[in-house]
């Protein structure tokens, strides 16, 4: 055990991440044994579809949790963005590129609102983001007059954006380009978190805000930025969501908050702030996606997923609370 822990590679990746990755593999094997259809390529694609948008949501909320806050608005914000830009695309004939930018901007706007209220007005992040969750739900469905919106298929006009999620080869097999997209963004996030001033200050203020403030750092600005990043990534998530699932219904999206947060805390990002791992978040999201696919494959009710994710969140946060207590 100690030997594995001290291995150079393991040390670099982090022991917990290695364990988590093993859990992911193990889960896949267990599901494959319990349900033979699980091994099919389509199952994997289906799980990945779920992982894409969830991944972007989770990457974003990782920044917020790193500051010691939380964002419960990401799922509905993602839907709100997809509804607004999708409606502009299909009903108002706005060019695709503009719509994609609008998707992202809608997310950014919600991030700015959350960040401003939390950082500059000292409002509790959980209640603030729940309020903007309601705003996002309402604005999204008001914009489309409670109609659902379907984005164009790849074969149709304006369906080209789907290359971000999947590409069909001539022989009809699907290449999951979304995975590449997600991993590229994850790498960028990891760089921002670990190699730039933004990430440095976000992590430090999550750990000890007052000490950072007394070092002459504009903590409010950096704290707000975490929410802006989170919102923006929720906007990006909306693009891959419609790329994978086509149709968006108004008034939904809040269950995805919980899945994304579960992915984060499982990956080793601490709810108390100051500690965050992008690779952990990605693996955590993969586990959640696999779990949901597994539950479906084995013919269980989808609701089991809520229960299990809920328990995962509780267990992960409890473990974090315990380990902090022990350190003090």
């Amino acid at each position: 055990m100690e030997k594995i822990k001290n291995n150079a590679l393991v040390k670099k990746v982090g022991f917990n991440r290695v364990v988590l990755f093993c859990v992911l593999i193990l889960m896949y094997i267990v599901f494959a044994i319990l349900s033979p259809t699980f091994l099919s390529y389509n199952r994997i694609l289906s799980a990945l579809n779920y992982a894409y948008f969830l991944g972007f949501l989770a990457l974003g909320v990782t920044f917020v949790i790193a500051t010691g806050g939380i964002d419960f608005s990401i799922g509905p914000v993602m839907f709100c963005a997809a509804l607004i830009s999708g409606s502009l695309l299909t009903k108002s004939g706005v060019p695709l590129a503009v719509c994609l930018i609008i998707s992202i901007l809608v997310g950014t706007v919600f991030g700015v609102i959350n960040g401003y209220l939390v950082a500059y007005w000292n409002m509790p992040s959980f209640i603030t983001s729940m309020a903007s969750m309601m705003l996002a739900k309402g604005v999204g469905s008001a914009f489309t007059k409670t109609q659902s919106v379907s984005w164009p298929q790849s074969s149709q006009e304006n369906g080209g954006f789907r290359v971000l999620v999947k590409v069909m080869t001539g022989s009809g097999t699907q290449i999951p380009t979304g995975l590449i997209f997600l991993l590229v963004v994850a790498v960028i996030c990891a760089i921002i978190l670990n190699k730039t001033k933004i990430g440095r200050y976000i992590l430090c203020l999550g750990s000890n805000k007052e000490a950072v403030r007394l070092s002459g750092v504009n903590v409010k600005k950096w704290e707000m930025l975490a929410y802006v990043i989170c919102g923006t990534l929720a906007g990006v998530a909306s693009i891959v969501y419609v790329g994978a699932y086509t149709t968006v219904q108004p008034g939904l999206g809040d269950t995805f908050n919980n899945d994304a947060i579960a992915g984060c805390v499982m990956g080793g990002t601490s709810m108390a702030g100051g500690v965050a791992s992008i690779s952990g978040t990605v693996i955590g999201v993969m586990i959640i996606a696999l779990l949901q696919e597994g539950i479906l494959a084995m013919g269980f009710q989808k609701d089991w997923q809520y229960v299990i994710t809920g328990l995962i969140v509780l267990a992960a946060v409890y473990a974090d609370v315990r380990s902090r207590k022990r350190k003090n």
């Binding site: 309601m134 008001a142 709810m271 809920g310 609370v321």
Partner: protein, 334 residues
């Protein structure tokens, strides 16, 4: 504060205003203004049926809000009340309609399930020391799934008012001839009086306030803070169950997988009523007034052409404003 102990103006120093509380008077004015506004903008709003409908909407929110007020006063929160309420309504109704149990058993089952959620929250927060919002978030997710798992994912319709088993609906809305009486309002008022007395005049209530005011000082006064903090969440759970019955009595069907977001109506109601997010202060009567603002908005907005989606937007905005006022009030005090 310092030397400005006697600060305030003629209005706030008036003994009657002091006894009721400035915020509550403002909220009453807001309710009157809203009602006037809706009446002016929509003639069809000015009907007895609308009043009954406002009351109908208020019951389940009221019960949730009364419960969550206790969690808020300890300085915590309970996010599981919305999905917990739906789960309670589902399970109770399932026993009645699918298992042929008497209505009273179904109602008891709803309450017991609510209590179980409360116990689970108490364990997570008071015993295991999880942050309240994340602990109850976990319960919220569990409750959401559990309700539909236990009932097989079906929508549940409690017995209609027309069948003998539908008697429980008369608890909330009594129909004599063609006239509907919002009987539930009287029940809610009774519960408010009982819970107010409990909060302000009993030892457990006193200790719940004390914990929210200063947990460490309360502990040092030799009070078992784990026990009384637990009780606050158990009360919240109990009212979640009662709210489940009220919800089932008000609406035709209870749908699985819903309920998320309803907790915000209750929390917003409590905060509008003056309960502080930082704990230590809250009144049940204020919570009821706050709930009426929410149910008035829910009922009234469609009359001026703003549908369900606008209700969500308004809930969000009202919540932000209420919390902002609370934050500003506290920073002024400090």
């Amino acid at each position: 504060m310092g030397k400005n102990e006697k600060k305030g103006n003629v209005f706030t120093n008036n003994p009657l205003v002091r006894a009721i509380g400035t915020q509550k008077i403002v909220v009453v004015l807001v309710i009157i203004l809203l009602a006037l506004l809706f009446s002016i903008m929509s003639p069809s709003f000015r009907k007895y049926a609308t009043v009954v409908s406002i009351f109908d909407y208020s019951y389940y929110i009221s019960f949730m809000a009364i419960g969550v007020t206790f969690a808020l006063i300890t300085g915590g929160v309970d996010l599981s009340i919305g999905t917990g309420m739906i789960a309670s309504g589902l399970v109770g109704g399932y026993l009645i309609t699918h298992q042929g149990m008497p209505v009273i058993v179904g109602m008891l089952a709803s309450i017991v399930l609510g209590l179980l959620f409360g116990l689970f929250n108490a364990l997570l927060i008071a015993v295991l020391d999880l942050p309240p919002f994340i602990g109850t978030l976990g319960t919220m997710m569990v409750a959401r799934g559990l309700g539909s798992i236990l009932t097989g994912g079906m929508s549940i319709t409690w017995p209609a008012a027309s069948v003998p088993q539908g008697w429980f609906r008369s608890i909330f809305k009594l129909t004599i001839g063609n006239v509907k009486f919002p009987l539930g309002f009287i029940i809610v008022i009774l519960v408010v009086i009982i819970m107010s007395t409990f909060l302000n005049r009993s030892r457990p209530g006193r200790y719940i306030i004390a914990i929210g005011s200063n947990k460490e000082a309360t502990r040092l006064s030799g009070i078992n803070v784990v026990k009384w903090q637990s009780l606050a969440y158990i009360i919240s759970g109990l009212f979640t169950g009662i709210a489940g019955i009220a919800y089932a009595a008000t609406f035709q069907a209870v749908a699985p997988g819903t309920g998320a977001g309803l907790e915000l109506d209750a929390i917003a109601g409590a905060i509008i009523g003056g309960t502080s997010m930082t704990g230590g202060y809250g009144t049940i009567a204020g919570t009821l007034l706050g709930v009426f603002v929410m149910s008035l908005l829910k009922t009234g907005l469609p009359f001026i052409g703003l549908q369900a989606n606008w209700q969500q937007i308004i809930t969000g905005l009202v919540l932000i404003i209420a919390v902002l006022i609370d934050v500003l009030k506290n920073s002024k005090r400090a």
